[in-house]
Amino acid sequence: MTKAGNKSCINLKLKVWRQKGPDVKGRFETYKARDVSTNMSFLEMLDVVNEEMILSGKDPIAFDHDCREGICGACGTMVNGRAHGPEKGTTLCQLHMRHFSNGDTVIIEPWRSRAFKVVKDLVLDRSVFDKIIQAGGYISVNTGGAPDGNAIPVPQESAEKAMDAAACIGCGACVAACPNASAMLFVGAKVSQFTLLPQGLPEAKKRALAMIGKMDELGFGNCTNETECEKECPKEISIENIARMNREFLKAGLS
């Protein structure tokens, strides 16, 4: 392994949010990350810091992560004020240390939103997202009795757009990036996916009303067209989906 001073290895100062539980006050603690290979992912860098902490009898930094290939949506923190760090269209697990320089200070803190409670350190309770989906983020069809797949033709363009929306990984970066802590991009993506597909139309009105109602009830803010969500979304989901959701909401209200 190469050491710091070598181009492929850097030293960093980490300021990490530490919080023992949801009802305890948290604060930033400073740690050193030494000899960080620039080929490491951000989470691998945290692994190394944590392993040192365990060996020296300290409580390691708790953070959520699972697939480490940018699809499960478990990971995500603010890195120097940016959701999932500085790279566009990238989850934290796919952010590599080559995007940092020797001597950098890196501030790491959890998503900040009234609707997301801290479980510990950087780990959040995002079950509110599940509750929004439970309110109507599906097509009501029981198993069995579905017609042949090709009996429901879907124009390629609609399928592609639906897929663009369906790519959401439910990480919560959109909420973290929004000054209003709004979940409109998350909800808009799901509403859009089903509005763009013929299978989703019978329940379109009910779905838009139910999901938006639930989102409001859970304490998420409103959209004021800041577009921060789109910029920070690791799957680059377009705010066009919010517009489409608003149209559905209006249509549902008018009929």
Partner: protein, 637 residues
């Protein structure tokens, strides 16, 4: 213990229909009185939970993640097979059945595989109805692509995110049942023991990962859909949290473990680049449709790829297997890559990589077409390696990906413990010694949507037992055992971290029980793992307490189980003195270095029965009978 596969009589194509008719039904009024626990919310667990709840059962669903949507099925990229024959290219249920059973090197049950092929078509219909945004042709019809091990185009896909979209479909159906009050969802819960009363599975002990409390949950049946054990190797394409603990706790309670040595090593992953590395990333096998695999002809050739002329490149898969070319099954493609690297022809800094080149496809079809098919994979590759696959060939190397082995189940997906059903990757049933691409999603959803709803009803209808209660002494005993183990892990206070032990175990398994195996290495590995396990229980440093959120403690329990399981895997590999599919023992190969099966002596499922700590597990055989296909030497030439 007798292994009874309960395969129905009658002609192959009628077995499932006939069996479904013979299965007992549960009176709708009684369904609401039956409680079912489902562990895991991947494709198998989520689809089972939703479907069972739709039928009226009272379902309790558990997952270790913060949301059921994060189960690792989400990461499956390439696609899902079905025998629709939409392309009119000669596909049929029979062909999908034959390809799958041949792909598994004739080490799976005919009846199970045929049923899987039959159900494959219903799955596509179901998922379309749920609004899964499958790729479409211009006319609006479903699009297909071909995948390794098949010469027809039968794979349905949603870009490179098919697993995500199918899982979100199942998660939507599950969410609908949660909203309807038919499923109670328990997130951030880890099943640490199976509770068995009067020989039947009647509940689980789960640890609440946030509070640290141990919970007792009773039910009339338990459905395990907890995934595979690839993480025994430390580095794999599995998620960090994927583990064997729920399945292994069931093994310790009497559920036999089948074919643990069958581990799929996927040919197209991003190569290892450092000791700190935490996981390996798969590049979908679908890339082999358009990508060409090659290495320089000469081991001395260290030129960058664009400076190596066509004549000095070795497209070794195309040369060796002209009929299937780059589309040979995974086990074959992986082994060939290893052979090239062993010959010194590997590329990149570590020389443990081969090129996967899409240049010809980009020139032929244009960048846009290729981007539409593989755009997200290319981006993922560039993020990790800082190289642009549109400009320079990808470098790939095989990595542990999927485990064909798992808890033994009969045709009803029931384990050797009555009332314990096992679905998806956690069971052993359909893939034999090698799984073909795009068939894991198919199996997970077949089990969850279309098999367990019928087979569990038969068990519940025939089984007479009292309502299970959490205050039964068996729950207290299990809970106490779990608690004692947690205390023990926390009290050791040694000098090595959990990850450190895990890395070493992974290294032992990869070197000795990986892509190729030898008796001498396996024996060595068995000893090394036993020693490492002994050291673990004396020298591991977990830190923290059992109260509250403690990720190091979670890992410690999982690695403790992997250490015990590693020995079983090696034992199984030693027992199988032949080569088949992924299990390539160098002592058993053809003149052309392909796997040499021994159908006379090893045409069976190996199942291991736990006999207590310190005793050798008891070995059982379930003979495999082939009445409809002829056992042949697998050839892809």
């Amino acid at each position: 213990m007798q292994l009874d596969s309960k395969i129905p009589d009658g002609p192959l194509s009628e077995k499932w229909d006939r069996h479904r008719f013979e299965l007992k039904l549960v009176n709708p009024a009684n369904k609401t009185k039956s409680k079912i626990i489902v562990v895991g919310t991947g494709l198998a667990g989520a689809s089972a939970s939703a479907t069972l709840a739709e039928l009226g059962y009272e379902v309790m669903t558990f997952c270790i993640q913060d949301s059921p949507r994060r189960a690792h099925s989400i990461a499956a990229q390439g696609g899902i097979n079905a025998a629709k024959n939409y392309q009119n290219d000669g596909d049929s249920i029979w062909r999908l059945f034959y390809d799958t059973i041949k792909g598994g090197d004739f080490r799976s049950r005919e009846a199970n595989v045929y049923r899987l092929a039959q159900i494959s078509n219903n799955i596509i219909d179901q998922c379309v109805a749920q609004g899964v945004p499958f790729a479409r042709e211009y006319g609006g019809q479903l699009a297909n692509r071909s995948f390794g091990g098949a010469q027809v185009s039968r794979t349905f896909y949603a870009r490179g995110q098919t697993g995500q979209q199918l899982l979100l479909g199942a998660y939507g159906s599950l969410s609908r049942q949660i909203a309807a009050g038919k499923v109670r969802l328990f997130t951030r819960r880890e099943m640490l023991d199976l509770v068995v009363i009067d020989g039947k599975a009647r509940g689980i002990i789960a640890r609440n990962l946030v509070s640290g409390e141990l919970e007792k949950h009773a039910a009339d049946a338990v459905v395990l859909a907890s995934g595979g054990y690839g993480n025994a190797f430390y580095l794999s394409t599995n998620a960090m949290g994927s583990n064997i603990s729920a399945a292994f706790a069931s093994y310790r309670k009497g559920a036999s473990f089948a074919n643990p040595c069958f581990v799929q090593i996927h040919p197209t992953c991003i190569p290892v680049h450092g000791t700190y590395q935490s996981k390996l990333t798969l590049m979908s096998e679908s890339l082999r449709n358009d990508g060409r695999v090659w290495v320089p002809r000469s081991p001395e050739d260290r030129r960058p790829p664009d400076q190596i002329p066509e004549t000095e490149r070795d497209y070794y898969l195309e040369e060796k297997y002209p009929r299937f070319g780059n589309l040979v099954p995974r086990d074959v493609a992986s082994r060939r890559a290893k052979v090239q690297c062993d010959m010194g022809k590997g590329v990149g800094d570590t020389r443990l990589a081969v090129y996967l080149d899409l240049k010809d496809a980009i020139e032929k079809d244009g960048r846009d077409v290729i981007a539409r098919k593989y755009g997200n994979l290319f981006e993922m590759y560039e993020k990790i390696t800082a190289q642009d696959p549109y400009e320079t060939p990808m470098m790939i190397y095989p990595a542990v990906h999927y485990t064909m082995g798992g808890l033994w189940v009969d045709y009803n997906l029931m384990s050797t413990i009555p009332g314990l059903f096992v679905l998806g990757e956690a069971n052993f049933s359909d893939h034999g010694a090698n799984r073909l691409g795009a068939s894991a999603l198919m199996q997970g959803l077949a089990d969850g949507y279309f098999i367990i709803p019928y087979s569990i009803g038969d068990y519940l209808a025939k089984s007479s037992h009292d309502t299970a209660r959490e205050d039964h002494s068996a729950f207290n005993e299990s809970s106490l055992q779990v608690e004692t183990r947690i205390k023990k892990l926390l009290s050791i206070g040694g000098k090595r971290t959990v990850d450190d032990f895990h890395r070493e175990l992974g290294h032992i398994l990869w070197e000795n029980c990986g892509m190729t195996r030898k008796e001498k290495d396996l024996k060595k590995a068995k000893k090394l793992i036993a020693d490492l396990r002994a050291e673990f229980w004396e020298n591991v440093l977990v830190g923290g307490t059992g109260k509250g959120f403690n990720q190091s403690l979670e890992k410690a329990g999982r690695v403790a189980d992997f250490l015990q399981f590693g020995e079983l895997m090696v034992m199984d590999a030693l027992e199988r003195k032949e080569s088949c599919g992924c299990h390539f023992n160098e002592d058993f190969q053809t003149d052309e270095h392909e796997a040499l099966r021994d159908d006379e002596n090893f045409c069976h499922v190996s199942a291991w029965e736990y006999r207590g700590e310190g005793s050798k597990p008891k070995f059982h055989k379930e003979p495999l009978e082939f009445e409809n296909v002829e056992l042949t030497q697998r050839s892809y030439k």
